[in-house]
């Protein structure tokens, strides 16, 4: 059996062993409910406060502005629906982009069914939102703009600062889905001018079922869960203590070495991109070449379909992902790839490799050494390639 080469870190990450160690006491000896009164419980409560403080610091936020949730999707739902419901007297118009995660798009769609109006901004061929286009889309009844920090499929980093300036000019709230970017690049909510920010623990070596929403002091937002007094009464429910402690540990580790991680990932990323584009004809990079997450490679190969590529990579122990319809359970290819202007047949043939700080150059080499053969074999089976060659002659 081949060794496992994991290049699907945008889907989820391994829990860091130090994170697991930090969590364990809170599952065993320190399992107390932080809302209880005895000493042990108060110690757990104090540990949660420290975790909140740790996370807040990474964003240049206040601990009071961090609300723990169960995942990035919950954070997105909390922010979007929460602002929509609390500000409907001001207006019922929201703006987002066509390349957001489904957690955002489907929250918006749910609001549309309740009578809200949503504008979905186009993006350019690299997946960038144009702040000038946003400026024109804002109306007197616009209450929220939701744009992602970086795209989960193509890795493009959006001009959040410019976008927030536009929002400020019109006094509209800005929510940023930073699930892919947080703990993978430095983010400062103050200098970026962000009102709400979603993050997910399992994208940065903490466990699944953890996440948080940053809500700037003063933002008018409805409670997401009603019940106890947890999370400043905005999100009731006994805290996932071990998960939160682990998430804080994970972000502390990530931020303590964020520059090193980024430069290592970037080296691996660029090696893969450069080799594939050079060695495989009719391939193209999806997403912006520079304004791009350091861990993201997304390349489209003409004439072949993504799932068959993933299956072939799986055979050599490489875990990857695709924007192909077949991997999503529906017949439509990725909405992100369609939004950047790819025709359907090209959108089906994309490959996403997301590396991390532990990915070695040997791993990258193995993938790059094998990919040309895989693509060639699939093209030799493709009627589209057959027609292309025939027409070329």
């Amino acid at each position: 059996m081949n060794r496992l080469i994991y290049m699907d870190n945008a889907a989820t990450t391994f829990v860091d062993k130090r994170v697991l160690e930090a969590m364990l006491p809170y599952l065993t000896d320190m399992c107390f409910n932080p809302s209880s009164i005895y000493d042990g419980a108060q110690d757990v409560h104090a540990a949660l406060d420290i975790a909140r403080e740790t996370i807040a610091k990474t964003l240049n936020a206040n601990a009071r502005e961090i609300y723990f949730t169960s995942c990035g999707t919950e954070s997105d739902n909390f922010a979007i629906k929460g602002v929509a419901y609390a500000n409907r007297d001001k207006g019922k118009h929201l703006i987002t982009s066509k390349i957001e995660h489904h957690a955002v798009l489907h929250s918006m769609a749910a609001l549309e069914k309740e009578g809200y109006e949503v504008t979905y901004l186009d993006v350019d061929e690299n997946g960038l939102v144009d702040p000038a286009t946003l400026d024109k889309a804002i109306r007197p009844d616009t209450i929220l703009v939701s744009i992602m920090y970086a795209n989960n499929e193509i890795g493009t980093i959006e001009p959040i600062k410019e976008i927030s300036e536009v929002c400020k000019k019109h006094s509209v709230y800005l929510h940023v889905d930073a699930v892919q970017a947080y703990a993978h690049m430095p983010i400062d909510v103050v200098s970026d001018g962000i009102d709400m920010l979603s993050a997910s623990g399992h994208k940065f070596n903490a466990m699944k079922g953890t996440g948080f929403l940053y809500i700037k002091k003063g933002v008018k937002i409805r409670n997401f869960m009603d019940g106890g007094a947890q999370e400043f009464r905005k999100r009731a429910g006994t805290e996932n203590v071990a998960g939160i402690i682990g998430m804080a540990k994970a972000t502390e580790i990530a931020h303590s070495e964020i520059e090193e991680r980024m430069s290592h990932e970037k080296m691996i990323r660029d090696y893969i991109i450069d080799r594939i584009l050079k060695e495989i004809p009719y391939s193209r990079l999806n997403g912006h070449r520079e304004k791009r997450l350091t861990n993201n490679v997304n390349i489209g190969f003409e004439f072949i379909e993504g799932e068959s590529m993933l299956l072939a990579l799986n055979d050599i122990g490489v875990c990857a992902s695709s924007g192909s319809a077949c991997t999503s359970g529906s017949l439509d290819p990725s909405h992100v790839l369609l939004a950047i202007g790819l025709p359907h047949e090209k959108a089906h043939g994309s490959l996403r490799l997301t590396v991390d700080h532990t990915t070695s150059l040997d791993d990258a080499k193995l993938v790059c050494d094998n990919l040309p053969k895989i693509v060639e074999r699939l093209r030799s089976m493709s009627p589209l390639y057959e027609d292309f060659i025939k027409n070329k002659k």
Binding site: A109, E305, E307, A325, C326, E345, S382, P383, E386
Partner: protein, 147 residues
């Protein structure tokens, strides 16, 4: 995606991939929009009506490749009448089943056989009993019911 061992075998080592020059019949079905296109070539003995050889090319997922491969195996050596009985259900059963979202892939294989036979019939000015004119696009199974 849970594929059966047979499906895995057929997409990893697909049988009968290729082209038949001057084929008796060629059929292409599917569309790029839904991500599957299949082309089937048949070499048919005019006197006996037996399918001597069958090759395919497929743009598509693992299930599409596996059903193409299995379908070619199943029609090879058969008469036209017998080949018409190679239904999507028969191909799927031969592969020990497909995941529910991949059912449409097996339709593609049946359609491709029919399209290739239709082409053969047209070229020879004959009528094959029970064979309907192929549609260009297989019916798209929309499943946009997320909300």
């Amino acid at each position: 995606m849970a594929y059966s061992e047979k499906v895995k075998d057929h997409y990893t080592n697909p049988r009968n991939v290729g082209v038949i020059e001057n084929a008796s019949g060629v059929g292409t079905v599917g569309n790029a929009k839904c991500g599957d296109i299949m082309r089937m070539y048949l070499d048919i003995d005019d006197s006996t009506g037996i399918i001597k050889d069958c090759k395919f090319k497929t743009f598509g997922c693992g299930a599409a490749v596996a059903t193409s491969s299995m379908a070619t195996e199943m029609v090879k050596g058969k008469t036209i009448e017998e080949a018409l009985k190679v239904t999507n259900k028969a191909v799927m059963e031969a592969l020990d089943g497909l995941p529910p979202v991949k059912m449409h892939c097996s339709l593609l294989a049946e359609e491709a056989i029919h399209a290739a036979l239709w082409d053969y019939a047209e070229k020879h000015g004959i009528k094959i009993e029970g064979l309907k004119k192929p549609v260009n696009d297989i019916e798209e199974l929309e499943d946009e019911d997320e909300f």
